[in-house]
């Protein structure tokens, strides 16, 4: 193609070499920041709405004129939320914390071992096993949630932490990600460890895991977020309000007969807050981990 095409797009990105020839001058750099700024503004609107509504009175939220900020910040909404009798919100927060934490520990343990086994241990049927794991990725939750529910209820696990946690531990996707990661792990490290007399098991715990902490941290963050945010399974398992996770509690606000706006938004804000902290502190590992997962093929 030799036709000259007018320059409509931003020039192609260069990997981190800002000192080299920058295509486009000051104008396109300004354009870059304007475009990104507008996108960022739009992305932040939902957070703004959340905080504004959580700290306003209902009268101001539903008022005639749009108020950009609450006239009086209503910190009292927090205590009101926790003293509300209709939804056991504090209990649901605690349930989510327990479930998400144990879910994360369990998933990392079980899936990392399996991923390593599939990636590294020579076994003639390893590929077949891997495809059996891969196949589960294509099966929608719908196929399994009804029989899973029956299974769990016949075990007497409805409304229990066990019922909320254990069926979710065997994530084909996480196992897949660990396998991809371990495929790229330098073989020399393990071979050296095994030359020194460690078996696979010893090499795994003494060499592979300590050298993979970044990846484990990334997976832990992703898994924790997924565990905290899970909805369908907790909805099915949490029959009694005392075993609701925070997502189920939030959902129940939306179907309530009476809508108390400031409380609903405060509940949402409180449910997001822990994750935002987790996220901001662990973002570095998260980004590295996602970049390394080998999804990039």
């Amino acid at each position: 193609m030799t036709t000259t095409i007018p320059k409509v797009r931003k020039s192609a990105p260069r990997s981190d070499t800002p000192s080299r020839v920058r295509r486009g001058g000051v104008m396109s750099s300004t354009g870059l920041y304007i475009a990104t700024g507008v996108a960022a503004f739009l992305f932040l609107i939902p957070f703004y709405i959340l905080v504004r509504n959580a700290l306003s009175t209902d009268a101001e939220i539903t008022g005639e004129n749009w108020k950009f900020f609450p006239t009086d910040i209503q910190w009292g909404n927090i205590s009101e939320l926790f003293s509300d009798e209709t939804v056991p919100f504090a209990q649901s927060l605690w349930n989510s914390a327990v479930v998400a934490t144990l879910h994360t520990v369990g998933v990392l343990l079980v899936c990392s071992l399996a991923g390593y086994g599939l990636a590294r241990i020579p076994y003639k049927h390893a590929n077949k096993v891997f495809y059996a794991v891969l196949g589960t990725l294509m099966v929608p939750t719908a196929v399994t949630f009804v029989p899973s529910f029956v299974l769990v209820s016949s075990l007497g696990w409805v409304d229990t932490y066990r019922g909320l946690i254990i069926p979710g531990l065997f994530s084909g996707f996480t196992c897949f990600l660990f396998r991809q990661y371990f495929l790229g792990f330098p073989k020399e490290l393990e071979e050296a460890a095994r030359m020194d007399g460690l078996g696979y098991w010893g090499a795994y715990w003494r060499v592979v895991v300590p050298n993979s902490l970044n990846f484990f941290a990334a997976m832990a963050t992703i898994t924790f977020i997924a565990g905290w945010n899970a909805f369908l399974w907790p909805l099915v398992i949490g029959q009694d309000p005392s075993s609701w996770t925070v997502q189920v509690a939030l959902s129940s606000y939306m179907t309530n007969q009476t809508v108390v706006f400031h409380m609903i938004f405060m509940a949402t804000a409180v449910s997001i807050l822990p994750l935002v902290f987790v996220f901001l502190f662990l973002q570095r590992w998260l980004v590295q981990g996602i970049a390394q997962t080998g999804i990039k093929g």
Binding site: R23, G117, P140, V276
Partner: protein, 321 residues
């Protein structure tokens, strides 16, 4: 505890690993070790994934209302029923529309954001965080913010307020399927939630493109901008794009949370998973038909995935390492 750094180990490893394969004949048989590592996972997978799938398969051939241990075999009746059931077929249509909206828009937006962020010299981390942050928010929370405020059909909803400044009448975003404004609500919610994640994947992929390619292109006279994007960046991102599209499709098939919460009291706009939830766990508790529907869905997902793989060549990347 071995606290040796990667570097030390690597250098000592290269020294030792040179003699012929050391793996053979070391302690423990690899077969046993393989099962030691994978056993716990595979047992769990068998109990909590495969057993339910098989049970589901079995249920789909029985008349199973209000029971999961039915005895009346009905052959393919459940399948016939589901395939001729307007609600279920409609839900497949809903999914198709949803996928047609969400897959290209997420792909384009996350790639666009990645290109922008990747070119930045200042405040790069800040902008990346802004776009990535919604990943931490749950679908339920986002649905709530969207439904109760941004796209609330009443006057004090944000969109209606903004439109009101321009003299536009209030729009009932979620209550009225005619015109189907609810798609805008659902698609923007999911776009906001998931674009940041895929942006990270694209940034990683962009940084893997060798600079030499751009230098060579510049020497060959390629115009920067669209031309280099079209003939270098895009082809180099092929593997990532394929994976992203696949992930987006599978995620779209499994959409439940936002539909369930945004359209809680409607009978339209139900994707397959919501339809099946009501079918199996709703008033009729029809596990047989529900299971048949779920299996039809699975077959479709597999077919689409394989087809997409054929077209875009997924799986080749597997042997890269």
């Amino acid at each position: 505890m071995s606290t040796t750094t990667k570097l030390d180990l690597a250098s000592s490893a290269t020294a030792k690993a040179s003699p012929a394969k050391p793996r053979r004949g070391l302690r423990g048989s690899p077969t046993f070790t393989f099962w030691l590592f994978t056993g716990p996972f595979l047992i769990g997978l068998a109990i909590f994934v495969y057993a339910p799938i098989l049970w589901s398969l079995w249920l789909s051939f029985f008349e199973a209302r209000f029971t999961v241990t039915p005895d009346k075999f009905v052959g393919f009746d459940n399948y016939k029923y589901m395939l001729t059931n307007d609600d279920f077929v409609g839900s497949l249509g809903t999914f198709t529309v949803f996928a047609a909206f969400i897959v290209p828009t997420t792909w384009a937006l996350s790639l666009g954001l990645a290109l922008l962020v990747n070119r930045m010299r200042f405040m790069r981390a800040f902008f990346r965080s802004v776009f990535f942050l919604p990943t931490a928010v749950s679908y339920v929370a986002a649905a709530l913010i969207w439904k109760m405020s941004i796209f609330s059909g009443v006057r004090f909803g944000l969109m209606n307020t903004v439109l009101g400044w321009f003299g536009v009448e209030n729009i009932a975003w979620l209550i009225d399927p005619n015109p189907p404004w609810y798609w805008l609500v659902i698609v923007t919610a999911r776009l906001w939630l998931q674009s940041g994640f895929y942006m990270i994947l694209f940034i990683a992929a962009l940084q893997n493109i060798p600079d030499e390619l751009y230098e060579a292109a510049a020497i060959d006279g390629a115009k920067s901008g669209w031309q280099t994007f079209r003939y270098i960046t895009l082809p180099q991102l092929r593997a990532t794009s394929t994976a992203v599209i696949l992930l987006l499709l599978v995620a779209a098939y499994q959409a439940f949370d936002e539909f369930f919460n945004l359209l809680s009291k409607t009978t339209w706009g139900r994707p397959p998973l919501v339809e099946l939830y009501y079918k199996a766990l709703g008033e009729s508790q029809d596990y047989g038909a529900g299971s048949a529907g779920a299996l039809i869905l699975t077959v479709l997902i597999c077919a689409v995935t394989l087809l997409q793989g054929k077209i875009m060549g997924f799986g080749k990347g597997d042997e890269s390492k």
